[in-house]
Symmetry: C2
Subunit: 484 residues, 2 copies
């Protein structure tokens, strides 16, 4: 196993070295770099698959002893998980610590033992975090241009945490243009905070009281659970979707109004106070992009039951929202521009009360002035976005997706196919001895023991064991893929 | 009144124009600019004083009718304060909105009607927010240098919200050096979030449960109340200090252990669960810098009663902390570098459990990678800090403070004198008809009606009516003062 790790490590060393050497490469050089990158990806996928087969084929007892051996080896390197001191921390401090440990322990282990070409060639390889690293070269180049380094007078002192007027205007213009909204979006309805999760948290705070409930179709992004637990204490009630194609399920994990109605009924029977519906679009981890018709049906459902709708990404192009005062749209640059590190999220809501109340949270969730400035410059450079960034991003995403899914098909690993996206939702049930979450967890642990991070279905509240989200590229690496 | 405003406005127009023209001025030109800036400050102070006298001398009835007239004039320009819609917002949403409106309404009015030399020469002049604008020229120059615009590979994706290793290391080195700590500070004990208030909020969250209490000497920074109300719901119990010199009070607003003990007793009699003590050092708004002996006494007091101590600024130079596991130090760059807009705050605590629990809050209180990078560069440039920034900052602060306090003395306005600082704590009791908070509020309103923002004592929970914090320079202007 260590040898395999070493091989992957060596590949990356070579690749990275070459990338640095070839900062302004000629065309021939560029093609060469791309080929080698393909090799590395190829290799990585093969490692994952071969690990699976090795483990699956191994004798149960041998497997278990290996497993515990590997576990010890991995964990002894990182400090043992901290047990909160009940004498120092408050009850909620202990609760937050425990909750965090149970959800993010692996992530911490990864952070403490990250793969690095020179310093830590045997560290964790991260396919668990979804980030669009495909255009990091273009983004970096753009951000290094001279116009980005201007320090305007008003960037240094306290900004008005409720206003950010210039950035809000730019976001309104940007979304108006790229979401093809029927009318110009009003900057007064835009609120910006330091990330989509901060927006989500602030929305839950001002829309609902502790103990009230939002419906969320599963599988869904696990961070929502953490966020609602940290401050808002609003409960997320799952609308369970299933992979099987049936009469009512024309595609895997299909969301229908019927399922929403059933979940609502079930929640009410359990005496939950259901007050809202959370939807991500494109769906994470499925990658589904809902049609306008479907979105309208979900929105009509929400209106019928007086529910707030929190939408990630856009319903902004819809001509007539069924319940504009209860429809709140969250958008960020993490997925579209691959700049999660900018810590930026925006809310668009027609409801002035909600906008005003959420904006108050800028007091504790503010974005630095210089980051605001760079975001503004980036969003307003339409020429660069339209002629440089978007074409390259689309084509690279397609190529990457095609490449990985072709490999998965060749290996007969089922997956949900949506033609594009930053990740693939793969079905590894055939590698489970029993189709249980214990087995899913054991498989996940085996990946981790071999320093490979994937996100497992349980953390997305998926109803069926055995699903994993496979990010197209390991986080922490800069890989470029050109169209052939 | 409008004429006076116009005059001030004109001065600033002239000044700002000249500043732009003189971006790299010769020495003679520079002296000329500085002289004119002194004129402007002179003028501003005189306006404030003359307003006071005009109003104080006016007939009560006339005053009141003028007052209501002015009020209408001011408020009709800005939208009427929003009344939260009880049907859309949750109970806590309404509560947060109400609390915000009652504490920050004036700030919002200012934001909607800010003075601007061209666009709004009759807007609000802000002496209510304390920001060190004296070295904005030097900071801007430094931040515009080429090394600041580097975009490293790891700045764009998700940073590890718990770690920020490079920035933490730099903060540890910086504080070790400038606080002259007895041993090197451990980067593992440093946590960074997007601002000191975020750190304060996270600390309250993990140290105490809702309804528990921290002691805070008054007057204290009003933001603490808002922060603890927003998320933590920890109560702040005032330790009231008095201005009068008496046997037990050798200087105005002196904090003694005796007063701490009395407040603790009083709180316990009221069945408060007192769990901690909050101290700012240098004290805001008093400007007091506590001596090491005093700090030790306060810390011993806290230890005696098993209280956590949250310290703003440093007790880091103390050789042996009485209760290191319960002593938590907050530091930021807002006051020292005048870059509040960077949204940066750091915690130093020996207590690993507390550090670990607070770091979790990075999930919702993160700093963007590019801001982290610039902060690191800034903090590590010791040569620039020692030879350029600090000497200029100290000398300009001294000059500014001397200038304003000289004017105050000439006008016989009492103030707490600490020789330096970003603000002066002035006693305007002689301008109140009665020494009540109603009168203080009326005086404050009169300032506002004339588009002048000052912070009044009540918002610092000061026990005695009539005190105001006067920031040395209007927020939103770039003024330079050179040593003569």
């Amino acid at each position: 196993m260590l040898n395999l790790q070493q091989t992957i490590g060596d590949h990356f060393v070579k690749l990275t070295t070459r990338q640095w050497q070839a900062q302004s490469p000629g065309e021939a050089n560029r093609i060469q770099v791309v080929r080698e990158q393909e090799d590395v990806i190829n290799h990585t996928v093969c490692q994952v698959i071969s690990l699976l087969w090795t483990e699956a084929a191994a004798d149960q007892r041998l497997h278990e002893s290996l497993h515990s051996l590997n576990s010890r080896e991995v964990w002894k390197k990182s400090p043992s998980p901290r047990q909160p001191d009940h004498h120092v921390l408050s009850n909620r401090g202990v609760d937050i610590s425990d909750f965090y440990q149970s959800h993010f322990q692996d992530y911490d282990a990864y952070q403490q033992d990250k793969y690095h070409e020179e310093k830590n060639p045997l560290g964790f390889l991260n396919l668990g975090v979804s980030e669009n690293k495909l255009c990091v070269d273009l983004i970096t180049e753009r951000l290094c241009q001279n116009d980005m380094n201007c320090i305007e007078e008003d960037l240094l002192p306290y900004s008005d945490w409720r206003e950010h007027p210039l950035l809000r205007e730019e976001v309104a213009r940007f979304l108006t243009y790229y979401c093809r909204t029927p009318t110009h979006l009003d900057p007064e309805n835009v609120i910006v905070l330091n990330g989509c999760c901060s927006i989500f948290s602030a929305l839950l705070m001002v829309l609902r009281d502790p103990g009230e409930t939002f419906l969320v179709p599963t599988p869904f992004y696990g961070g929502f659970t953490f966020v609602s637990h940290l401050y808002a204490k609003v409960e997320l009630f799952p609308v369970h979707l299933e992979s099987e194609i049936t009469e009512e399920n024309s595609e895997p994990f299909q969301l229908t109004v019927d399922k929403l109605e059933k979940a609502l009924l079930e929640a009410r029977q359990k005496e939950k106070k259901v007050r809202g519906l959370v939807l991500t679009n494109p769906q994470n981890p499925l990658g589904v992009v809902y049609s306008q018709e479907s979105l309208m049906e979900y929105l009509e459902f929400a209106k019928r039951h007086n529910l707030h709708s929190i939408k990630f990404h856009s319903v902004l192009s819809i001509e007539r929202l069924p319940d504009p005062d209860r429809t709140h749209v969250i958008w960020g640059t993490s997925k579209d521009f691959g700049i999660s590190g900018f810590c930026f999220g925006a809310l668009y809501t027609h409801n002035k009360e909600v906008a005003s109340a959420v904006s108050i949270f800028g007091y504790l969730h503010g974005i630095s002035g210089i980051t605001q400035y760079k975001l503004r410059r980036l969003l307003q450079d339409r020429e660069w976005i339209d002629t440089v960034y978007l074409p390259a991003n689309h084509s690279r995403l397609r190529t990457a997706h095609k490449y990985v899914t072709k490999k998965l098909r060749a290996l007969k690993i089922p997956f949900v196919n949506h033609g594009c996206g930053l990740y693939v939702w793969v079905n590894l049930q055939s590698y489970l001895k029993l189709c249980t979450f214990e087995e899913e967890r054991a498989l996940h642990r085996r990946f981790l023991d071999n320093k490979l991070m994937l996100s497992r279905g349980k953390s997305y509240m998926c109803k069926e064991p055995g699903w994993f989200r496979y990010a197209l590229f390991p986080a922490g690496y800069t890989l470029n893929l050109e169209t052939p």
